[in-house]
Amino acid sequence: MIDNFSWVAVYPEIVLLIMACVIAMVDLWVTTPRRNLTYGLSMLTLASVAIIQALYASSGTTLYSFGNMVVSDAMGNWLKCFATLAVMVTFVYGRPYVADRQMLKGGEWYTLTLFALLGMFVMISGNNFLVIYLGLELLTLASYALVALRRDNGNATEAAMKYFVLGALASGFLLYGLSMLYGATGSLDLSTVFTAVATGHVKHQVLVLGVVFVVCGIAFKLGAAPFHMWVPDVYQGAPTAITLLIGGAPKLAAFAMMMRLLVDGLLPLAIDWQQMLMVLAVVTLLIGNLSAIAQTNLKRMLAFSTIAQMGFVLIGMLSGVVNGNTLSAANAYSSAMFYMISYVLTTLGVFGVILLLAKEGFESEEIADFAGLNSRSPLFAGVMAVCLFSLAGVPPLVGFFAKLSVIQALVATGQPAAVGLAIFAVAMSLVGAFYYLRVIKVMYFDPPLSVATVSAGADVRFVLALNGGLVLLLGLLPGGLMALCANAVVQALGS
C-alpha cells in the first residue's frame, strides 16, 4: 500500500537517469577524442541537477515519497548538490587526462560516472534499508567498471578485482546486518525501525548483532580500519581520473548512508554503535597515519591519509549521544558533515593537481615526480600546498576548522575516554602533518627533475584556482558552511 506518492521528491534522480541514458546513446555518434558533445551534455545535466538540488535544499522542506521509501530533506539535498558539484569538478579536471588515454577515451567514463552519481543520489535519499542498499550497489557496480576501464593495465585490473571482491563482501555484511534488523523489527522502513527499537520490546542481542554487521559494512565503504585494505590498492591502481571520482563525491554518499542507517534508524542503539565507532576511530587514525608515512607513491599515501581523515569523521559521529541524552547530537553530526564536505573539497584539489601533471605515458604518481613543482608552475604548487596544509589541519584553512569542530564535539561529551581520544587524535594529526609537509617539501624545496613547464587549459586553471581559493576562503570564513550543516542536520534529526 502506498500512502504518499510524490514525483517532486525524485525529480533530480529522474532527470539524471534520463540524461544518463540519453548521453549513453548520443555518445555512440561522437568520435572526437575530447568528446565535446558528451562532455557538454553531461555538464549541462549536472549543472541543472545541482541547481534543482540547491533550490530544494534552500527551500528547507522535507518530503517523503513512495510510501516513505525515499526522503528529500535539507541534509540529503545539500549532500546531493555537493556531490553533483564534485562530479562536475571531476569532469573538468579529468577530461584532458581521459582524452589522452587509449582505454579511457570512450564515453564510458562520462556515462558510468553519471550512473554512479545516480547511485549516490538513491543512497542519500533512501529512507528504507533496501533502497539505500540498492543505491549503494548501483554506485559500487559503476565504480568497479570504472576502475577496470584500463583493462590492459595489470595494476588497474588487480585493483578492480580487489575492489569487487572486498566490496561484494562488504555489501554482504551490510545486507546480513540489515536482514537481522528486519527480522527483529519486522520492517525495512527507517522510522518504523526507529520506533520499534525505541520501545525496547525487541530482543536486544539480535539488534546488536545486526548493528555489528551494519557498522562493519559502513566501515568498509568509508575505508575505516581494519576494513581499509581495498583503499590503498584501488586509489593507487585506478587511473587517476577515476581515483579522483572515487575519492570525492562517494564519500558524501557514504556519510549520508551512515546518517540514515545509524542515526535515523538506529539512534536508540547509539550506546552500542558509538563504542564500535570509537574502536574503529582509534584503529583508523593509528593505521592511516602511520602507514602513510612509509609511502613513496603519492596516490597510495593519499589513500592512507584518506583513511586517517575518515577517523576524524567517525569521531564526529560517535560524540552524538551522551548517557542516552541526544542534546548534543546535532552539534556532533553536523561537525562530521562539515568535516566530510571540507575533506571532499580538499581532496578534489589534491587529486586534480596530480591528474593535471600526468602526461601521456607518464602518470606522475610518485612523490618524487613533484620535485620542484613550485618553479615549474607556482599555481599548481600553490593549490597543492594549500590543500595539503588544509588536510594537515593548519589554520587558517578549512581543514583546521573541520578538525576543530569534531574535536570540540568530542570534548563536549565530557567523558574521560573522550578527552583521551581527543588528545590521541590531536597527536595523530601531528604525525599526519609530517607526511603532508614532506610532499610540500618536495614541491618547494627540492630542485626540479625536469624543466618542462606544466600547461593546462584556461577552464582547468580557473577551476583549480577556485578550488584552492575556496579551501582558503572557507578557512577564513567557515561560518556559512557550518551553519548550513547545522541547519540540515537539525532538520534531519527533527523529522
Binding site: N374, S375, P378, F389, V394, P395, P396, F400, F401, L404, S405, I407, Q408, V411, A412, G414, A422, I423, V426, A427, S429, L430, A433, F434, L437, I440, K441, Y444, F445, L477, P478, G479, M482, A483, A486
Partner: protein, 492 residues
Amino acid sequence: MGMLSLAIWTPIVLGVLILALGRDDKASLVRWAALFSAVLSFLVCLPLYTQFDNSSASMQFVENMPWVLRFNMAYHLGVDGISLWLVLLTSFITVVVVISAWEVITERVNQYMGAFLVLSGVMIGVFCALDGMLFYVFFEATLIPMYLIIGIWGGPNKIYAAFKFFLYTLMGSLLMLVALIYLYIQSGGSFDLVVWQALPLSARAQTLLFFAFFAAFAVKVPMWPVHTWLPDVHVEAPTGGSAVLAAIMLKLGAYGFLRFSLPITPDASHEWAWLLIALSVVAVVYVGLVAVVQQDMKKLVAYSSVAHMGFVTMGFFMFSPLGISGGIVQMIAHGFVSAAMFLCIGVLYDRVHSREIASYGGVVNTMPKFTAFALLFAMANCGLPGTAGFVGEWMVILAAVKFNFWIGLAASSALIFGAAYTLWMVKRVYFGPVVNDEVKHLTDINAREFFMLSLLAVAVMVMGLYPKPFTDVMNASVDQLIQQASVSKLPL
C-alpha cells in the same frame, strides 16, 4: 575598516598581490613594490601610537564582530600597552627585512617578499587578537610562511631545519588547542579572552590549562629545555628569516604568557612560578655559557636569544610591575638588537659565505663602517647602558633582587656571560690581524646596507637613551594585568 584591521590586512593583501603578480624577470619591480608595501604597512601602524591613550588600561582601537557564529567566535581585536610596541616592532622589522633581501635574494623574489609581508600581517594579528580562536589561527598561520622561507631560501641543511621548526612548534600548540576547546566548553560557549579572564576555574583545571599553554608558549619563546630547535633553525634560515624569527616570532610565545597564562590561570601561575623562574635562570646562566663556546656566529646569537628571552620570562613570573614592564621592554629591545645581529652576520655571510668565527679576523681593517655598526649592536646585546639592551635587563634585575637576592645575583651574572660571549666573538671576528685573503678583499657596506643598519642603530640608541615612550604606554596595562593575576579564580 578599523585601524587594527588595516594594520593586519594591508601587508597580507599586498603580499598576496605580490605573490600572485610577480615574476623573476621583473625582479626589481617586485622589490620596489615590496618596499612600498612594507613602508605603507608601517605607516598605517603609526596612528596606533600617536592616538594611543597612555592613561587607559583598557583595550583600545577595539573591533568586535561575529566571525563564526556556530562556535561564537568573534573577530575581536584590540591593543593595549602590552601589545602596542610589539605591533610597531613587527611592521618596522618587516621594512628592514625587505631592504636586507634586496640584492641577496635573486630567485623567486616575489615569493620571498610576499611571504614576509603575509607573515608580518599574521604576526600583527596575533598581537591584536582578543578572541582565543582568532589568536590561535594567527599563531599557527605564522608557521606556513616561515616553513617555506626556511625551506626554500635556507642553507644546506634547510629541510631538517624547516621540519624541526614546523613540527616542534606545532606539537606545542596542539596542546594549547585542546586547552582552548576546554575553556570554550567551561565558559558555556565563548572564545572571548575577557570572558575567560573572569571565569572561575578549579585548581586542577588551572594547572592542566597552565601546562597546556606552557607547552605552546615555552616552545615558541623558547625556554630551556625545549629550546633545541632554535639554534638549528637559525643556522639554516636565510638572514631575513633569522631576523624575523628572533625579533618577532619568539615574542609571540612570551606575549602568550601575558595574555593567557597570567590572567586566565592566575592561581596556577603563582603556584608554578618557581618552575618558570627556575627554567629562566637556567636559560640565562647555562645557555649563556653554552653560547660562549659556539664556533658558528648564528648559533652563538641564537643561544644568546634564548638567554635574553630567559630574562623576559623571569620578569613575567615575579608578578611585580617592574619585572613585567622590564620583560616587555626586553622583548622590544631584543627585537631590535637580535634582528640587527643577524643582519650583521648576513652582511658578512653574503661576502664570505661562511658563518664560522674562525673564517674571520681583522674585518675592521677592510670594513670600518660596518664594524662600527656591528660593535654598537654587540654592545647593545651585552646590555651596555645607553643602548636598548640595558633598559629591560636592568629593570628585570632590579625586580629579581627585590624578589629574591640569589635569583637577582644569578640574573645579573648574565651580564657578565653576555659580555663574554659577545665581546669574545667581536674580538675574534672584527679585530686582530687580517687572517686570510677573503677578509683582505672585503668591500665595506654599500648605501643600502648602511641605511638598513642605521635604521636599527637609531632604534637601539633612542630606546637606550630615552626609553620613556616605550615604558609610558605600558604602565597602566601592566598594573591592570598584575591586578588580574593577583585575584584568585578558584571557585569558593
